[in-house]
């Protein structure tokens, strides 16, 4: 049956145009109930024992998606008209609904009512789209009722009063969400219901009773039309709001229209915007541009800074507002940075957040509704007001909460409880919080993904050996060097002396792309995960375990497939030729760094592996030296290593990660392989190579380092990476740790390296600052990084081994993959750091410790210390010690007003570390000064 859909549409040029589209109505759309006798039941998704079939209205989906996601709600029919409307209103909820509909564990069925011959509804003249959709929902429900007859009752769930009334009039059974959930007799579900203010009559009454108590906390958002007009006229600026991770009262909006970041100070100016929202900002008058400090203090909830892991790059470190520069700016009357206030929110970025409830006394009548404040783990998120009936149950739990609305009359946004993760402080709970916070998918691999794996036990087949593209390198003495206990070995090395005095050096990387083919479920999953995540007590793999630990892992004494880069090098480590090939290898030893080091150091050993190791080490040293001469920075970070109890998984000991010569040797060859591969793929695919760059830090970013250095009488040259490297080498203080400390501080000023698509930038921007390499990419760890998988494919295509998948010809798509990889890498790092922080806390719980620390930053009420031994950083508060303290910005010193004691930056102090619980279930690490 054919219907024409006719509607008017406004074109881009502003003209009005009539559009006619065909609309086919079908008789092969089935009801999805397996017990139906009239329909084809092969695609049925509803359960055969359903006691009730629910049809949901659009407003129910939009507002109560958390409720729908709860397994207690099942046998739901989602009409295509509802899907369509949800898609237009909120794409995030649409995706969640789609996930529900495709999940095999849930019984959600999509009924394409708009294409169904009997359930189709033609728009009546003068009917609004909203009324039309409501009518379509009622007609479809009616159809279900007639179709299924007495087999099972059909219930329309709607929160729209008008729709419900009409439904009842037409003889359709309909209920509101609240009354339906109440009838289920599961009180915990009631917490999931979002109270939409317009529907909730009782709430309205209560609020109306005391209008005097309501006061406007935030200014109204401007209407959308005014915002668009303002943006066009240049009064408002549009951008994404990013809240400072370390100071939630400060946010930045990157605006294209003024080409600079606009700073927004204080919650009032942020005007209910969340991190990640797209907002419209109005600039404040220039004389109000320097009010940040007063505002921070003015805000009533000043939170204490916690002890955390020492940051390893500028991205992790708190954003420092430049004090020195600012005072200079004030003096000369030149305003530093524009500040503004949010006038409207263009698009919300509300997600669900992890955290816990603020401790509060139990309300008098247990079991009643309690209003509680939820504090997110993510400090950038304001407290959220929720209503709960199970307060006693939730107080000591980590819970997930979603935001529903933020009225300008209320200080905090209101939200609703979604689910419980577990008890606060419990290691498993906290680990899960870390994963959720960083958007890491730790679910087991789906059966579709696992079906892409080759059958086990897997071994190199004769086909692989006879394949002409695969070189047989099994005769070579290849070995791998990795951290102890490493099971995903993705690189191995060999080095043989050639008769002409040169060396043949090979880097062999696991041939992951032989098993992970483009476009398969396995590939899609890996590209979504982007990277393996290493937490202290577990590893979340990018690829399923059989691939990670067996098939791809280049273990000792088994034949494995590899992708090899083989150089001929002179004894002076000059590369004469480079060869790339797929290969079959057989590793003869899987060494740990310690073992390799011990072998090299033991002069009695002269077996082939050891001699090769020594040769390679000699070459690596020359390569390293040359790299440093080119200006590569030797940066340092405070990485810590835990010793975990195998039984309880509790940390037994922590200490700094020790770097040996063997580590540096392996690293050197991996760098060389990555550089060689980057050159090769860029030559063949100048527009669609995936490379990695490290942007040169700006003067501003290095400012804190220079200030600290100046305070201890050190001058650093930061004009180029080479100059910086040299001045870092010269920076030797009176104690051995001084140099490392300066390097750690330098590392902290730099941003992280990022992946990018070569077509997006011009060649000078490809530069990798830290390595002083004009080109760089990642090739050597395809088991744990998806970027390497892509580079493997590019390299294989450039050698003519395989065809390049189409997506590489599509630059925007490659760019979006690169963006996803950067996002995943960043999250993986944040998660590892959070995991280490968590374990540090567990470790110190029963072990109050005295240790040495270095001051890294001076603050108004104390200073921040860095504890080298444990790699952590945290504030030491001086105000508790009494006396008046004065801060000397220029000298970076804090002095007691009577000049009796003073502390300067980089000075060594002794501190006491102890876990305290100022509030129940909220443990934190506290640092106090012990000397004097």
């Amino acid at each position: 049956m054919l219907q024409n859909r006719t509607f008017m549409k406004k074109t881009k040029q502003g003209g009005i145009r009539k559009v006619v589209r065909e609309h086919y109505l079908r008789d092969d759309i089935y009801c999805g109930a397996p017990f139906c006798k009239a329909c084809d039941v092969s695609g049925a998704r509803l359960s055969s024992t359903a006691s009730k079939i629910l049809v949901v209205d659009t407003n129910v989906v939009l507002n109560q998606i958390d409720l729908l996601e709860n397994p207690a709600i099942d046998d739901v029919v989602v009409l295509s008209v509802v899907l369509e409307e949800v898609k237009n209103k909120n794409i995030g909820i649409y995706n969640r609904l789609r996930a529900l509909c495709s999940s095999s564990s849930r019984r959600f069925f999509v009924f394409s009512n708009q294409n169904h011959r009997d359930a189709y509804v033609k728009a009546m003249p003068g009917e609004t789209p909203n009324d039309h959709n409501d009518r379509a929902i009622r007609v479809a429900t009616q159809w279900y009722q007639n179709h299924l007859g007495t087999a099972v009752p059909v219930l329309l769930i709607t929160n729209d009063r008008e729709n419900k009334r009409k439904a009842l009039e037409e003889g359709i059974s309909a209920e509101t969400v609240e009354s339906y959930v109440k009838s289920l007799d599961k009180p915990e579900l009631l917490d999931l219901i979002v109270q939409s203010s317009s529907e909730d009559v009782s709430m309205e009454d209560v609020e109306d009773l005391r209008p005097s108590k309501r006061k406007v906390v935030y200014t109204e958002h401007k209407p959308m039309s005014e915002i668009t007009a303002g943006l066009l006229r240049g009064i408002y600026h549009q951008g994404k709001l990013r809240v400072n991770r370390y100071n939630p009262f400060e946010a930045y909006v990157g605006s294209e229209s003024i080409g600079d970041e606009i700073i927004i100070y204080g919650r009032a100016n942020m005007n209910r915007a969340f991190d990640g929202d797209i907002v419209a900002v109005e600039l404040l008058p220039q004389e109000q541009w320097h009010e940040e400090k007063s505002l921070v203090i003015a805000d009533e909830e000043d939170e204490e800074e916690d002890v955390h892991l020492a940051p390893s790059s500028a991205d992790d470190a708190p954003r420092v507002t430049n004090l020195g520069q600012e005072s200079a700016g004030l003096a000369s009357g030149v305003p530093s940075r524009p500040s503004g206030r949010v006038v409207g929110i263009i698009r919300r970025n509300w997600k669900s957040y992890c955290g816990s409830l603020e401790p509060m006394p139990m309300p008098a009548g247990d079991g009643g509704i309690a209003h509680a404040l939820f504090v997110s783990k993510d400090r950038r998120i304001p407290k959220i007001r929720i209503k709960t009936r199970q307060l006693g149950n939730l107080l000591d739990k980590r819970i997930v909460v979603a935001v529903d609305s933020w009225d300008c009359l209320s200080r905090y946004p209101s939200g609703h409880y979604v689910r419980t993760i577990g008890e606060i402080g419990d290691r498993d709970t906290e680990s899960e919080v870390v994963l959720i916070e960083n958007d890491i998918d730790a679910r087991p691999f789906s059966s579709q993904v696992l079906s892409c794996l080759p059958p086990l036990p897997w071994s190199v087949s004769s086909e692989d050996l006879s394949n002409p593209i695969r070189q047989d390198l099994r005769h070579l003495c290849i070995f791998s060097v990795d951290p102890p206990g490493c099971r995903d070995i993705d690189d191995a090395l060999h080095c043989t002396a050639l008769p002409n005095g040169n060396f043949e050096v090979g880097v062999h990387i696991a041939d992951v792309t032989n098993f992970v083919h483009h476009g398969t479920a396995l590939d899609n999953e890996a590209s979504q995960r982007g990277t393996s995540v290493y937490l202290v007590e577990r590893r979340i793999d990018m690829l399923p375990k059989p691939l990670t630990e067996d098939i791809c892992s280049l273990r000792a004494d088994v034949e494995r497939l590899a992708f090899s880069v083989i150089w001929e090098m002179t004894p002076e480590a000059e590369i004469i030729s480079t060869k790339y090939t797929k290969s079959v290898i057989k590793s003869c030893a899987a060494l740990s760094y310690v073992e390799a080091q011990a072998r090299m150091d033991d002069s009695r050993l002269v077996d082939p592996v050891t001699t090769n190791l020594r040769n390679m080490n000699a070459l690596a040293k020359i390569m390293r030296q040359r790299r440093i001469e080119r200006g590569a920075l030797t940066l340092a970070s405070a990485e810590v290593k835990f010793q975990i109890d195998t039984e309880t998984h509790d940390p037994l000991d922590i200490g700094m990660y020790q770097i040996r010569e063997a580590n540096q040797m392996v690293e050197e060859f991996m760098l060389a392989a990555n550089v060689s591969v980057a050159e090769k793929i860029l030559k063949h695919f100048p527009l669609c190579s995936l490379l990695r760059r490290h942007p040169t830090p700006t003067k501003e970013m290095l400012e804190p380092l220079l200030r600290t250095a100046a305070a201890v009488g050190l001058s650093l040259d930061v004009t180029s990476s080479k100059a910086l490297a040299e001045s870092l080498d010269r920076a030797v203080g009176d104690d051995p740790y001084f140099n490392k400390l300066i390097r750690i501080l330098a590392t902290r000023c730099m941003t992280q390296a990022v992946y990018f698509c070569s077509g997006d930038l011009s060649p000078p921007e490809f530069n990798h600052y830290g390595l002083a390499a004009p080109l760089y990419t990642h090739f050597t760890s395809p088991i744990r990084r998806y970027a390497d998988v892509i580079v493997h494919r590019l390299l294989a295509a450039s050698l003519g081994i395989s065809r390049l998948p189409d997506i590489f010809q599509d630059r925007p798509q490659l760019t979006s993959i690169a963006d996803n990889l950067n996002y995943r890498h960043r999250n993986a790092q944040m998660a590892s750091r959070a995991s280490v922080e968590l374990h540090t806390l567990i470790y110190f719980k029963n072990r109050p410790t005295d240790t040495e620390a270095r001051i890294v930053k001076i603050r108004s009420n104390g200073f921040i210390v860095f504890v080298p031994k444990y790699g952590i950083e945290g504030p030491v508060n001086l105000s508790k010690k009494g006396g008046e303290w004065l801060v000397d910005e220029q000298q970076q010193k804090v002095k007691r007003s009577d000049n009796s004691i003073s502390y300067g930056v980089l000075q060594t102090v002794h501190i006491h570390m102890e876990v305290v619980e100022p509030q129940p279930h909220r443990p934190k690490l506290e640092l106090t000064l012990t000397e004097k």
Binding site: R17, V20, R21
Partner: protein
Amino acid sequence: MEYVNPEGLRLDGRRPMEMRQLRAEIGVVSRADGSAVFEMGNTKVIAAVYGPREVQNKSQQMSDQALVRCEYSMANFSTGERKRKPKGDRRSTEISLVIRQTMEACILTDQMPRTQIDIFVQVLQADGGTRSACINAATLALADAGIPMRDLVTSCSAGYLNSTPLLDLNYVEDGAGGPDVTVGILPKLDKVTLLQMDAKLPMDTLESVMQLAAEGCKAVANYIREILLEHTKQLEVRRGT
């Protein structure tokens, strides 16, 4: 954008392997020797055939075969916005050529030397797949004119969107920027006479898309045959034999 939803329905409610509704009518222009209207959904095309007749421009006359000429045009009202399209623009010249070549391949031109056959096709309403509709209309008109042909030529397009081969793209799907493969076949001889595509498509995918388009052509051929049979029966009745 999602052109095929997870329920397996396209934007207009068809499934990927389904064609739009076909409709054809023979003998719509009484002055012409043969004429037909052909509709594929909202795409509507009229074709009129004159000939075989005397060659107008003697210099073009060929002594061993007939001269086939084709003129394609689009009515000004055929698309949503009314735009005056100049006659003989690049697009219509190209389509004219394509139709002429396709039709020439099936007309037994050597049986009608020193004559000329004119095919006029005009798009009355455009909603994607005009090329195919024109060829189908021209076939019907040629058959109506009683011009000897090897076989009927039928045409249909297919595309590839959301990793699914789609038969008979409409205007919206055509505008998606994906590949659009137009295939013309001689259904009884099972020969391809037209294959056009203006995008990149991997070889193995092209094969499946082409296969689908060819299936579509066969379905069109069946329909055209039915229409012709019915039309012939009517002629028979009118003659009263």
